[in-house]
């Protein structure tokens, strides 16, 4: 029954699409919707709504084929296998470089250079069937040997892949023939395939890998053209692309660090899209303007107050719970994200990238009197002073510090805020000496819950039971069992208030109204433009 309804809905959507694309007249669309059981007034309303929502015609423009996307952060290099900076993948992953798989807008794993794959019964052997007729941008033919080269190179610590740990479960990578890759894992790993969609897992050519930092060569729908440091990165269409040819001929990423300058650039028509939104509160101007579309991606990332579980007073669970109870998540989401975010209560965000998500927001609710009681029970009734390491380059961290400061003041906790640059944060908070009490950060990497199994990780959480459950969950091929194992971990983390998880922000983009097929950044940092076009 449900299936049939779904089919009918899909049929309606298809007819409306046809109408929008200009392939159907209004009359014909009305008739076809009638066949699908939609009443005449309803059908007219649907068609009218669609026609006003789009600009009567959604067909790709043949004259405007260059898209200029404003992004905040400039890549530090052009090689995602050498540097963890997210903006490298933002510009290049899936556009220039391709992996065997990629993550779609919702965070699901879909095939890329691998058109399909089989997993053995025990889950330990994965066989990929590669696309045919693939060529590198330098003209050389792509083969399975390139995959063997790329992944062997990535796994070898000597090559300094920032995510060499992704290949830890891999025992061997081999190419039985030119279009097949066989990977043997030490045991099934649920996260491994997911990670193969990341920038650090993209396939590079042995002939050009050494120069990828400045002149990237990939197999993707766009080729690298020029990189004007401090200004822009230009890509051009790869006319020899093996897959669906992109509709855009030219793509330019323009690096605009200042939120005002970004908005001005879009309003003045210098750019076609704001790919990364620095200040969501400024979106109101665009949301009410017909010339622009504000696009919202799935909530992804975990904005949280990380706590140093290793050192007093935060080694006391009651103190952590007290701090968490003083946090009103709504004030954060409204104050930082202008409402574009979803409250979270454990280390997971509600999207398909983290299929084990469970809503744990009811464990640590906003409750000032409970917070005070917990502090009193921990012997801190007379007040408490904590240090907050603030990453000054991240607007959410700066605003979050102000909000946290005022919320904690209400329960008698004083914050000493130390602003610092990201490199200093990495070297003092994240890496030893790990000298801090609290810090605010958005953990953007998906499926990073495994870090709670590492007692050396900067929040210093040491719980062998959780570590065991995490290992077991990753190696569990049965989806239901896996989910329940992860669910137990998420529950324990929330119960122990290891950190105070606040919200998962929606990734946002502002587009010119005639810019379509744009995949909002989110679960994957990549801004894939292979489907984008102007009408």
């Amino acid at each position: 029954m449900e299936d049939r309804e779904l089919q009918r809905d899909a049929g309606i959507v298809r007819q409306l699409d046809q109408f929008l694309a200009g392939r159907l007249s209004r009359r014909e669309a009305l008739r076809r919707l009638g066949v699908l059981g939609v009443s005449l007034p309803m059908a007219s309303a649907l068609i009218a709504a669609c026609a006003s929502g789009s600009t009567t015609n959604n067909q790709p423009s043949t004259t405007k084929t260059k898209a200029i996307i404003g992004i905040i952060q400039e890549p530090t290099s052009l090689d995602p296998t050498a540097d963890a900076t997210a903006s490298i993948a933002t510009c290049l992953l899936n556009n220039v470089y391709e992996g065997l798989v990629r993550l779609d807008g919702g965070g699901r794993i879909v095939g890329n250079l691998a058109r399909s794959w089989d997993v053995s019964a025990d889950g330990a052997t994965v066989t990929f069937h590669l696309a045919q007729g693939v060529k590198w941008h330098d003209g050389a033919a792509f083969s399975a040997q390139d995959v063997v080269y790329s992944w062997t190179r990535a796994k070898d610590a000597a090559n300094k892949n920032p995510h060499a740990d992704y290949w830890a479960p891999v025992q061997s990578v081999s190419a039985p023939d030119d279009h097949t890759i066989k990977v043997t894992l030490s045991a099934y790993s649920d996260n491994w395939l997911f990670h193969m969609g990341a920038g650090s897992a993209c396939i590079v050519s042995q002939a050009s890998a050494a120069n990828n930092k400045t002149t990237p060569v990939g197999t993707g729908p766009f080729k690298f053209s020029t990189w004007n440091r401090g200004s822009s990165l230009q890509l051009i269409r790869n006319d020899a692309y093996w897959g669906k040819k992109p509709l855009l001929k030219d793509v330019e990423f323009r690096f605009i660090g200042d939120a005002n300058a970004m908005n001005n650039s879009l309003t003045a028509g210098d750019i076609d899209a704001i790919g990364q939104v620095g200040g969501p509160e400024q979106l109101q101007a665009f949301a009410s303007n017909q010339n622009f579309t504000v696009t919202k991606g799935a909530p992804s990332g975990k904005v949280m107050v990380s706590m140093n579980n290793k050192s007093a007073p935060l080694s006391d669970k009651r103190v952590r719970q007290a701090l968490y109870a003083a946090i009103d998540r709504k004030a954060w989401i409204d104050g930082i994200q202008a409402g574009y975010g979803q409250p979270i209560g454990s280390h997971s965000a509600p999207n398909a990238g983290e299929p084990y998500y469970v809503d744990e927001t009811s464990v640590n609710t906003f409750d000032v009197s409970r917070s005070k009681q917990l502090l009193a029970a921990a012997g801190k009734a007379s007040g408490l002073t904590l240090r907050l390491a603030q990453i000054s380059a991240f607007p959410y961290a700066v605003r979050g510090s102000d909000i946290l400061n005022s919320q904690l003041k209400a329960v008698g906790v004083t914050l000493n805020i130390t602003p610092m640059e990201f490199p200093r944060w990495l070297n003092t908070v994240f890496l030893p000496p790990q000298d801090y009490d609290l810090t605010i950060i958005n953990h953007v990497e998906e499926r990073d819950i495994g870090n709670y199994g590492n007692p050396k990780y900067y929040w210093g959480y040491d719980n062998p039971t959780v570590a065991g459950q995490l290992k077991q969950a990753d190696a569990e091929p049965n989806e239901g069992k896996r989910k329940s194992l992860y669910g137990e971990v998420l529950k324990t983390l929330a119960d122990e208030a290891v950190n105070a998880w606040v919200y998962a922000p929606n990734q946002l983009a502002v587009l010119k109204h005639n810019f379509h097929g744009y995949q909002v950044q989110g679960i994957s940092p990549a801004l894939f433009l292979g489907d984008a076009y102007f009408s």
Binding site: A84, K160, P162, H163, T214, N264, A268
Partner: protein
């Protein structure tokens, strides 16, 4: 005269050497390094140490200084650790943005401040002088970035006369490149003009109180004639000093304006490189700016000799 100039030159070279040591030490004292930036939140103490080793960051400080300073003497400014691009050509490319921007801003500053400063100085007891003086005070109070935002809103967003930001390379489209420098240069130039106006005004007021001006007036010259013949040249000395300082600050101080207008200049490169701990780029840039400051000071010193015969004969 030649001896005096030679002494100044030796001092210039010595200053450069001292500056290079200071720059290197201070830059390398910054907490955090490029290895952690490259590894991001996937860094572990072990992989950071390994990457530091392969980048040569674990070598002793003095050795790295010698490599850097020695390279510069050969015209080799090193290679960016992050992007693998040679730094020398990179800086040259940025200079094609920052250089014209600074010069254009300085020209605007001079064109505005010299007439207003002189008029405000000569008429400092009259209403017109007071109005100009008040305007220049207002100008000093306005930060360049705010002026930039205002200009962008009016001339780029509303009137669409100039681009709101970004830069198209000279080789691609020289007219577009020049157009994108207009608003930032005006924003920088006007604020500098305000500062310069104040100095020119007080220099003119001071010089009018000098004995030689009184004597000239007593001979029967008008106020203007006296100023033209004897006043301006004397008033120029403090003004040239300030101008020297301003030109260097235009080159560096454009950081904020470059961010407002998204210009790929030296300021933005410096800002990004500090954030990424791409220290070789930072060292080279700070060194370049130091050299410019020292060179400008040297030229200002020389100009004193041209302007004031008393300094010439004293040496």
């Amino acid at each position: 005269m030649t001896v005096a100039i030679a002494t100044r030159l030796v001092a210039l070279v010595a200053s450069l050497v001292v500056a290079s040591i200071l720059v290197f030490v201070v830059v390398n004292l910054l907490p955090g390094d490029v290895a952690t930036v490259m590894l991001g939140t996937n860094a572990t103490p072990e992989n950071v140490a390994a990457l530091r080793h392969s980048l040569g960051l674990d070598q002793p400080l003095w050795l790295r200084y010698l490599q850097w300073a020695g390279g510069m003497l050969h015209g080799d400014f090193g290679t960016s650790v992050l992007s693998h691009t040679p730094v020398g050509p990179l800086i040259l490319q940025k200079l094609t943005v920052s250089g014209p921007l600074a010069l254009l801003a300085a020209a605007i500053a001079l064109a505005v401040s010299v007439p207003t400063g002189v008029v405000a100085g000569v008429r400092y007891r009259r209403l017109s002088g007071a109005v100009l003086s008040a305007l220049s005070l207002g100008g000093i109070a306005i930060p360049a970035f705010w002026a930039g935002l205002l200009l962008a809103t009016v001339f780029a967003v509303k009137l669409r006369l100039f681009p709101a930001g970004g830069f198209i390379d000279w080789t691609e489209d020289p007219v577009a490149a020049a157009r994108s420098l207009v608003l930032p240069a005006v924003a920088l130039g006007l604020v500098q003009a305000a500062v310069l106006t104040r100095f020119i005004r007080s220099a003119i007021i001071d010089v009018q109180r000098e004995d030689f001006i009184r004597t000239a007036r007593a001979k029967g010259l008008t106020r203007w004639q006296a100023l033209q013949r004897h006043g301006f040249r004397n008033a120029a000395i403090p003004v040239v000093t300030i101008l020297g300082i301003q030109i260097t600050s235009l080159l560096v101080g454009a950081i904020v304006i470059e961010n407002v207008f998204v210009l790929p200049g030296l300021g933005r490169l410096l800002f990004q490189s500090v954030g990424n701990r791409d220290l070789i780029v930072v060292q080279d840039l700070v060194m370049l700016l130091t050299a410019v400051v020292l060179a400008v000071n040297f030229l200002v010193d020389l100009s004193y000799r041209l302007l004031d015969p008393r300094i010439r004969t004293a040496s």
